[in-house]
Amino acid sequence: MNKIMLNILMIALLLPTNIFPSTKLKVVTATADLADFVRVIGMDKVEVVSLTSGNQDPHFIEPRPSMVMKVKNADMLVRLGMDLDIWMQSLIDASRNSKVSYGGVGYVDVSGKIDKLEVPTGKVDASMGDIHIFGNPHYWLDPENAKPILETILKKLCYQLPSETEYFQKNYKEYLQKLDSAIVVWKKKMEPYSGEKIVTYHNSWPYFAKRFGLSLVGFVEPKPGIPPTPSHIVSLIEKIKREKVKVIVMEPYFILKVAETIAEQSRSKVIVLSPSVGGIEGIKTYLDLFDYNINKLVESLKN
């Protein structure tokens, strides 16, 4: 009896992680933007699942057991790093998938080659709000940063499927061309507004602002992750008036009410931009994301 039990146990342990194998490389990503990047290079050779959608606050994701299965079945995991997707760690551990754990063949942290902004140099603690100790993690909102992200993903895809290296490289180059052309268009559209001052709800847009020559002069949150206080609102209203700020940029998941009150009293305007693919209906790709955000911003600044 013991022998039978032991054999059953051994068979169970040796069963492949996924009992429904697929020929495609299975990739799980932290965000929909990363999923789009994997898709444009991997095309029909990959099966991509994002653990979150663009209308979710990436700081505030509750890991679910169902997500464990997505990580467990993955050959490759792509994450933003810089602590924005720290919630992924419990999923990786619970999945017991060596391939996608830190140092595994399928573990990809795309923040490695990013020129990071706002990296704290002194002591960091919670008195400063929800500060990310490795710098501001919203780096994908600079379209130029898509290039090192894509390069990192390409490298890993080629490593995972060496026979498809040529195919991946071709897709990567084609996409880079598209991206470069789009960046030219976006920059041109934003050119007349270079130096324009904006206020955002959360400090999510420094990479975007730097790339398109905008000046971030304030935030609705007094410190990252801290809800606005009445005194902060009053001083922000004064600042918006003084600096002649035209727009307050919001993400779709933040509550509009406070920003609208500030806008009303400071004669500015609230606009909702999408921080990620899928954040607003119709934004299906990374290129769509910037098309939408740039057009929306230009339209608001023009008026």
Partner: protein
């Protein structure tokens, strides 16, 4: 057979812990790797300061603001895919503090396909709430059934547990554990504490839990657990006990910050004492709603029999409001009403956290 199993497990640990070199780029260190440049582990402190109003004149905590617990957590990797988590705590026991190893364990995160192992002192994987540290629970006090059947701190044992994530399309995990819990003797404690029940000596536990996504925004978790051991006062009572548990949790996320949770656990205690058998039940049901990023509210209903021949039932309702300042710092107001005793308790709790603090998926 044991020798064979042991060799196989060791072999798989060795085979599965090859370190794959990361590219020559600076990637984000994982939780547990933050102590650079001096190789310190992640260090954090969690404190629990609670004020209590009570209509019970004999309650020691009544009308006082007390530090209930201070926990120091040291967490880090000791080898690739093997991490150590140590939680040292100072608990208040009436007038004095008692130092305690709250948890201290080593996790072999991946032994082989789906299999992991933990060894040390651990909050046992039994039901939904037992393994959650008190400061992470959405209420101030432990559900009554858990206290009645497992003691004041729930089921915490020293031993080893294996967790196996089954190769199925849906999340389904089996945990089995063998533990050693210290028993208690009447002469060591005051009379009141002698009346507490728990499991002790060699404790064997098992849990099966699964999760079913009901759509993009909702999930149903089901679990079944069992624990078998002597009673905690075995020398006096010569009792054997088994506790069976079933849990059901439904979660719905209507928007990025809103969350509805409906969590229920039922416990059934079978206790065999020389003069006969006891069959006792207890359950709690918690309904919580998170309105936005900072606020949530909940109701918990507790019903439980005790573990003793003279059966006393507890029947109470709690209302809870929580303000979340950060992930680890919360301010909570909770009011309990005990229908049997017609008594009330009100708690104002401040849980604070300093430093990086993490727990596995719960």
């Amino acid at each position: 057979m044991c020798k064979y199993l042991f060799t196989v497990i060791l072999l798989f640990i060795t085979l599965n812990n090859f370190v794959f070199s990361q590219d020559d780029q600076e990637v984000t260190p994982l939780p547990g790797m933050r102590g650079t440049p001096s190789n310190l582990p992640d260090i954090s402190v969690i404190g629990d300061i609670t004020g209590k109003l009570s209509s019970e004149p004999t309650d020691f905590d009544r009308n006082k603001i007390l530090v209930r617990e201070i926990e120091l957590a040291l967490q880090g990797y000791i080898y690739p895919e093997i991490r150590a988590d140590v939680f040292l705590a100072m608990h208040r026991h009436d007038e004095h503090f008692e130092p305690e190893i709250c948890e201290a364990y080593v996790s072999f995160l991946r032994i082989i396909n789906g299999l992991s192992l933990k060894a040390g002192k651990i909050h046992v994987d039994y039901g939904k709430i037992n393994k959650v540290h008190e400061h992470h629970r959405p209420y101030t006090n432990q559900p009554v059934a858990l206290t009645n059947f497992f003691g004041e701190h729930g089921l915490v044992g020293e031993g080893v547990t294996l967790g196996y994530l089954m190769p199925l399309p849906l999340f389904m995990q089996i945990d089995i554990g063998a533990w050693r819990l210290e028993g208690k003797h009447h002469h060591e404690e005051d009379e009141e504490k002698s009346l507490t029940f728990g499991l002790a000596d060699e404790v064997y536990t098992g849990r099966l839990w699964s999760s079913f996504p009901l759509g993009e925004t909702s999930e149903l978790e089901l679990g079944a657990s069992v624990a078998a051991a002597h009673g905690s006062h075995y020398q006096e009572h010569q009792d054997n006990a088994k506790v069976f548990g079933v849990d059901l949790t439904f979660k719905l996320w209507p928007s990025t910050y809103e969350r509805l949770i409906f969590q229920n656990e039922i416990f059934n205690l079978h206790r065999e004492i020389p003069v006969g058998k006891l069959n006792r039940w207890g359950f709690y049901s918690y309904l919580g709603y998170q309105f936005n990023k900072y606020w949530d509210a909940g109701l918990r209903y507790d019903w439980s029999e005790n573990a003793f021949p003279e059966n006393k039932k507890t029947n109470s309702l709690s209302g809870i409001i929580t303000n979340r300042l950060t992930e680890t710092t919360v301010i909570r107001l909770q009011c309990d009403y005990n229908f049997g005793l017609k008594s009330y308790n009100a708690f104002l709790q401040l849980v604070f956290g300093i430093g990086p603090h993490s727990h596995p998926l719960q």
